[in-house]
């Protein structure tokens, strides 16, 4: 259980801004911080990791007090043992990809995980390259692999997939979900991608100007209701066409555009750019095997 | 009245002569009204500089070799002339140490300072003294060398070396009146330390004044001052 009750004054886009957080994260939960640019998401992670000193308040993790302004407790960064994917990656420029991972790995831990991660993140042939010569997405994957290889109990992810294309992004989302379940990691994610959030997280905190303005299960938070259904995807409305009786929506789901028929009434609530949840109850598809090659 | 710059004489002075030269320059000024600046440095540096046309009028060396080298290179008006002989002393600035050659052999003296015998006549004279009194081998390991007689003095006055060889002129100079004890060494133990001077050949120099100073240096008045400072002169 992570209990956060922290205050910190920051310089916001509209003058001084007070970051004022009060939240609880259960052990093993996958929580997302969501909110506009400059809301204080990164600052929150930094305070949890011990990289930014709160002005006041208390932070305790699993019963242990990590920070308490009153008693002057402040556990050092090193002793907090969190994994952190920095928004700017913060790769060690003088080490190769492999050296970056090995540096993060606990002493004596086996090399297997490193190799698995290199494989999974599609970094195999890049392992002896310096970060300087990597592409943006490659750097981001190294940063993620480096945080995971630590096998931390708390994983802090600051937009860890933002520079990746849909293909590898989905693959790594799947991986994050899997390791989260497997190792019962407590994970705190920052993401702007609603689809990603809905897919991955148990709980969402919506921050704005330093305050939590809403929180809840992602589906509830983003749709306003909880939905049960067999088949469920998030997508984005691309186009709205009014036909005679009904409206036709073009919805982008992953990389495919799907047309969905809705009533005029429903269509009025939507406009291009909206994120939507597509749910089907009656679903009876055909399955074709894809040939390899 | 202060004289204009071009009348100022520049006297290139070897470091060990600086105390006597200050008195000589002052006396010379009182007599003739000619102002002089002392340029004090090691004889080696001064020689190198004069050979490259340094604006010095007279070179007052601490030995004869350097003025001779200048003369031979054609930078002197006349042959060098000996104006005085230096006397070597054994000096100590430690109250509990009476300077004597025998004390050098004791354990209470760990370091004996002398000027570099290669470049300084007082240095080679000190070596002669040690050799002719037969203790050179015993004290060789205690010897430390100053780049010049001046640095040797610093070794002694700072107490870093318990004892050392220097010029009588140094210990008799005003600055050192109160400090330490010294022993004038028997002049038969070393070759006379002959000190010579030359007038420098210069195109735009103040040759007349330079000659006047040179003449003055060998005058009875100047020779008396030199004697007072502990040099012996030809009589």
């Amino acid at each position: 259980m992570i209990q956060i009750d922290l205050k910190k004054s920051l310089q916001g886009a509209n003058g001084a801004m007070q970051l004022d957080l009060n939240l609880e994260i259960a052990e093993g939960q996958f929580v997302t911080l969501y909110g506009p640019s400059g809301a204080g998401k990164t600052s929150t992670l930094r305070m949890i990791a011990g990289l930014m000193q709160p002005d006041s308040g208390k932070l305790s993790v699993g019963g242990a007090v990590w920070f308490d302004a009153e008693s002057g407790t402040n556990r050092s960064v090193q002793k907090r043992g969190v994994g952190y994917v920095f928004q700017d990656y913060a790769l060690f420029p003088h080490m190769t990809v492999l050296e970056n991972l090995n540096f993060a790995k606990a002493k004596g831990a086996s090399q297997t995980l490193v190799n698995q991660l290199l494989e999974l993140m599609e970094l195999g042939d890049l392992q002896h390259r310096k970060p300087e010569t990597l592409s943006g997405g490659q750097k981001q994957r190294v940063a993620l692999a480096r945080a995971v290889v630590q096998k931390p109990e708390i994983l802090l992810l600051d937009e860890p997939l933002s520079a990746l294309d849909a293909g590898i992004r989905h693959k790594l989302q799947g991986y994050l979900k899997r390791i989260h379940e497997e190792f019962k990691l407590t994970t705190i994610l920052i993401s702007h991608d609603v689809g990603e959030i809905v897919k991955l997280s148990d709980y969402v905190y919506h921050l704005e100007a330093g305050k939590v303005i809403a929180h809840g299960k992602p589906e509830t938070l983003f749709t306003g209701q909880s939905i049960s259904g067999k088949f469920k995807f998030t997508g984005e409305v691309l186009k709205l066409e009014q036909e005679e009786i009904l409206s036709v929506l073009s919805i982008l789901i992953h990389t495919q555009v799907v047309k969905v028929v809705v009533s005029h009434e429903e269509a009025e609530k939507l406009q291009p750019g909206d994120q939507v949840l597509v749910v089907s109850k009656a679903f009876n598809p055909l399955v074709y095997k894809l040939e390899n090659g | 009245a202060k004289k204009s710059k071009n009348q100022t004489l520049r006297l290139a002075t070897a470091a060990n002569m600086q105390f006597a030269m200050k008195a000589l320059a002052a006396d010379f000024e009182a007599r003739t009204g000619i102002v002089s600046d002392l340029v004090i440095s090691s004889s080696g540096k001064l020689t190198a500089q004069i050979k490259e046309g340094a604006p010095y009028d007279v070179f007052i060396s601490a030995d004869t070799a350097y003025p001779q080298a200048i003369y031979q290179a054609g930078y002197a008006l006349d042959k060098p002339k000996i104006y005085a002989y230096g006397k070597l002393v054994l000096w100590s600035c430690k109250a509990d140490k009476i300077p004597a050659l025998s004390t050098l052999l004791t354990d209470s003296v760990q370091h004996i300072a002398l000027a570099n015998p290669q470049t300084a006549p007082y240095g080679s004279a000190a070596i002669s003294v040690l050799k002719s009194s037969g203790i050179y081998e015993q004290v060789e390991a205690k010897l430390v060398y100053g780049e010049s007689i001046a640095q040797t003095n610093q070794f002694i006055t700072s107490g870093a070396a318990e004892m050392g060889f220097t010029a009588l002129a140094v210990v008799k100079s005003e600055a050192q009146h109160a400090q330490g004890k010294y022993l004038i060494l028997d002049e038969s133990l070393y070759e006379p330390i002959a000190q010579a001077a030359v007038v420098i050949k210069r195109k735009k120099g103040n040759t007349e004044a330079a000659r006047a100073f040179y003449t003055y240096l060998f005058s009875p008045e100047a020779q008396k001052i030199l004697k007072d400072f502990g040099y012996s002169v030809d009589e």
Binding site: A49, G50, L51, V77, Q78, K79, R80, G81, V82, G83, Y84, F86, D88, A90, L91, F92, P93, H94, F103, A104, A106, Q150 | S42, S43, G44, K45, T47, A48, Y66, A69, K94, H111, A113, N116, Q118, T119, L143, V144, Y145, G146, E147, Q151, Q154, F155, S158, G159, A160, A161
Partner: protein, 223 residues
Amino acid sequence: MNWEPLLLTFKLALVTTLILFVIAIPIAYKLSRSTSRIKPVVEALVSMPLVLPPTVLGFYFLVAFSPNNAFGSWLSEWLGIKLIFSFPGLVVASLIYSLPFMVHPIQAGLSGISKSITEASYVMGKSKWETLLRVQLPQIKPALLTGVVLSFAHTVGEFGVVLMIGGNIPGKTKVASIAIYDEVEALNYDAANAYSLVLFAITFCILLIVYLVNGKYLKGFWK
């Protein structure tokens, strides 16, 4: 030609540079992190050994280290260290004199390092010390090189301090720079030229190798 002074010179330069490297890093590190009020004072103080003429600095060392003085006698009585007219004395004097050449470049280098890279290392549980050694220093190789080269070259060429505190004792404290100086003083210009040339050539080769290795012209040597 007498090789002893040359050997002594490179021994002195090597020892001084190595020790300096070790002691300058913590100082530079502290200075680069510090936000203390007295930081500018310390920064200015580090440069002060340069301000006095070397012989004069040497003279003050001589006075300070002399057994006549409290510090000097304390050193010799309690620690049995004699710093005047001895090789250790040369090393200590060279250390103090060359300190700014090592501290300032390293400090400048350290203060340019990206904050988040350091933080990343802390997050991984690496101590400040390990982070300094394995993350920060490897990133400022050019600055380290500058410190090492300046200190080394300067120690090779320095003679004022060394002459004063060392006493020019052949085989013990007579380094090459003093030997060359002596030859110039004695108007033995040929001998001085010969010494200079050898000193120059050896140092040039050393520095060239350092730069070649650093520039990866010789691969696999320095990583």
